[in-house]
Amino acid sequence: MAETATTLPPAPAREASRFDVKAFLTRYGAWIALALLILVNLAITPNFATWQTLNVNLTQVCAIVIVGVGMTLVIATGGIDLSVGALMAIAGALAPLIFLGKLFPLPHPAIGIALAFVLPVLVTGFLGWCNGWLITHLRIQPIIATLVLFIAGRGIAQVFTNGNLQVFNLPEFQFIGLGRVFGIPFQAVLMVIIVAVAAWMLKRTVFGRQVLAIGGNERAARLAGIPVATVKQRVYLISGLLSGIAGLIVIARNSAADANLVGLGMELDAIAAVAVGGTLLTGGRATVVGTLVGALIIQLVRYTLLANGVPDAAALVAKAAIIVLAVWLQRQGQR
């Protein structure tokens, strides 16, 4: 794997002599699975090698990957963020209120659209930071601290909208979900940029290395002077920001914001992508590109089954099986 955030050492001499199948599978399993899936589809699925197929699959996977990047960072510190789906709903509810002028009068529609991009993401970022604050200052376990917004967040979003479905048609805003750049969906471009920046950050910046150090051994990190609380708060802040962006993409794609449905079940999809991608769920070892690959695998399996006439319910079972397999492989790799 070209990008694995912990430094991969040259294999020790004693292992070099014989080929270690398990270690190989742990390290490259996700890539092999993705390649196999593509090959199988080329063979059996009609019209697979088309732009349309690519675009359909990319748009299906964008929101999951963007949220999954934030989730990867959170999990890298040894935490978890269950609030991402609810945060998407909050961002999704706020944006239409802003550009439809229901929250405050707009001097100019363009300002409304600009604010509709910025404010909801700032709000979800702030809420993510609050998650981090609960975890670091009140010492609440991440799963419980983020459960608060998981439960309350969607309610907050519904209060904003009085529980109404907000329908709109605003191409300037919906560019984020429907627009294309050179024929590629803009959301896919955005996704690739986010993945690239996050992967670089995790590997090259002090912040990224500190994230992994905390996940690898929090007590040692603290004794080495790493500002554990600050780093964790930032990680949850980033997860909140990215959830907000994903929320905007989803409502733009649907031309409607339904606080009940936006981001529903997203926390589990994101965690699944992270796990399948090869990030250690206990923290300390993480790969952002892996999360992208993981999300693509889950999506491709579903697509393969659907395109070949298997019902969606069965696809869910296949998804569960992939997750179990990936986590089992991880445990084997740890020895």
Binding site: T6, P9, A213, N217, A221, R222, L223, A224, G225
Partner: protein, 508 residues
């Protein structure tokens, strides 16, 4: 009269390594018997074999006139051996009776028989002279009474032998008095007690006889009153008094001119550190000595900002503000190698390079981006200088031996040019060769002006390396030894008795 318990020739190996070698333990009826020894001496293993937690490899156990080999703690309990652990768990919201009868409720026609349970609770408490209303919730009573209830519950009616494994480590002085009251009552009722503790005052206050263990062997059995404190400590640590008193070998004694790098006064942290004072000068190795639980680790953790002190002053020369977290201490020029390398030192999945650069990395970075070239240069330099054996800077640290891991952690601080380095058990779990290398390195660094504060359970090591030793006992500084006064004999004497006069000198 035959003894209540006699364990004879007990052997036990774990993965081929002997933990007990023909260990002996004899407890008379109605006696309070102290069982002492350093960490790893084998006392816990011996007790766990007695209570059926482990199976012995060989040897025989006779309890109450019958040869026994318990296969579970429940079996031992049924035979009359009760164990009281350090932490006592009860349900504070429920009544005293419910707490006492928890897990052995009496039933009548399928329903709880409250009347006989209350009666049983009252009878049990009366045995320990506790007169309280058994219907009220446990939390209505002070902690000391709750402790008594817990002990009464653990002992029950049938105990012939009660094992107390460091029962006082989480109790305050008043609660300790209460516990001692219980022990005396047990004794007068003909119940025997095995008392495991590191606190000498307690042993002398309550025990009749003592069994001292070392390296899995029983090395001495004596009546408490006939064994001096010094003899007890000496036997426990296994040092010969005759071999000490070496010629003056200490490095520059004049190094301590000028202001100390670190000055700690009347430090108190939690229950383990009550009144600790010491200081470290530039270019000097200072040892903190003391028995297990004397408060050494807790003291230095507070100095480094890892734990919050309750009282006292910590002054680091040149430090800007107060030290409330490790990051402050590091900024002020301190480094700290924890006693537990695995738990608090290494980041196992990261490379040698990243482990070494962990503290320096933020300073080395430009605009938050890691400077890989600079960091590689520094790491290469330290790998050479400290002789770290690894396949290269990118090897994972978990694959290194303990000694090499420790060197990486030392380098983590040395690359920051610290003025004070705190080493808590720097040679624990390290082979002999690496041990010597690390100690030589520490001496060399001190020669270059670094102040070193060192804790080691191996007395020999501290005495040899340190030019000054502060001795702690029960969370207090009891002696400061310097120059010719630093030898194993004086240190052990201070660990056993403490020197009120030297203590005055420290405070003056």
């Amino acid at each position: 009269m035959a003894p209540l318990l006699s364990m004879h020739g007990i052997n036990k190996r774990f993965a081929g390594i002997p933990a007990l070698r023909a260990a002996e333990l004899t407890v008379e009826k109605g006696e309070v018997h102290a069982l002492i020894g350093q960490n790893g001496a084998g006392k816990s293993t011996l007790i766990k074999i007695l209570t059926g937690y482990y199976a012995k490899d060989s040897g025989e156990i006779v309890f109450d006139g019958r040869p026994v080999a318990f296969t579970s703690p429940q079996e031992a309990q049924a035979a009359g051996i009760s164990t009281i652990y350090q932490e006592i768990n009860l349900v504070p919201y429920r009544s005293v009776t419910e707490n006492i009868c928890l897990g052995r409720e009496k039933r009548r026609f399928g329903l709880l028989d409250w009347r006989s349970m209350h009666a049983e609770a009252r009878a049990l408490l009366a045995r320990f002279d506790i007169d309280i209303d058994v219907h009220r919730p446990l939390m209505a009573y002070p902690t000391a009474v709750q402790q008594m209830v817990a002990i009464a519950r653990a002992i029950g009616f049938d105990a012939k032998l009660v094992i107390m494994d460091e029962p006082t480590s989480s109790l305050d002085e008043r609660e300790v008095d209460v516990l001692f009251g219980v022990i005396r009552q047990l004794k007068s009722a003909g119940v025997s007690v095995i008392f495991v503790s590191h606190k000498l005052d307690e042993l002398y206050a309550v025990c009749d006889r003592v069994t001292i263990m070392r390296d899995g062997r029983t090395v001495q059995v004596a009546a408490m009153a006939e064994l001096s404190r010094l003899d007890l400590v000496t036997t426990m640590l296994g040092r010969e008094l005759t071999q000490v008193l070496q010629e003056g070998h200490k490095a520059d004694d004049d190094a301590e001119a000028g202001e100390p790098v670190l000055k700690v006064r009347n430090l108190a942290v939690g229950r383990k550190v009550r009144d600790v004072s010491f200081e470290v000068h530039a270019g000097e190795i200072v040892g903190l000595a003391g028995l297990l639980g004397a408060g050494r680790t807790e003291s230095v953790r507070a100095v480094f900002g890892a734990d919050r002190p309750d009282a006292g002053t910590i002054r680091l020369s040149g430090a800007a503000g107060a030290i409330s977290q490790p990051a402050d201490a590091i900024r002020a020029g301190m480094g700290f190698c924890s006693e537990d390398r695995k738990l608090e030192g290494i980041i196992p999945d990261m490379s040698v390079r990243e482990n070494m650069m962990l503290a320096l990395m933020p300073q080395l970075a430009k605009r938050g981006i890691v400077d890989e070239t600079r960091s590689r240069e520094i790491v290469d330099q330290f790998i050479r200088r400290l002789g770290i054996r690894c396949s290269g800077p990118e090897q994972r640290i978990r694959e290194l031996s303990g000694g090499n891991q420790q060197k990486v952690l030392l380098a983590r601080w040395l690359c920051m040019n610290p003025r004070l380095l705190i080493l808590d058990e720097p040679t624990r779990g390290i082979d002999v060769g690496a041990k010597a290398e690390i100690l030589n390195l520490v001496r060399e660094l001190a020669g270059q002006g670094l102040g070193v504060l060192m804790i080691s359970s191996e007395l020999e090591e501290v005495v040899e390396a340190a030019s000054r030793i502060f001795v702690l006992r029960d969370g207090r500084t009891v002696a400061e030894l310097e120059g010719d006064a630093v030898n194993e004999q004086t240190v052990m004497a201070a660990m056993a008795h403490g020197h009120e006069e030297t203590r005055e000198a420290v405070h003056g």
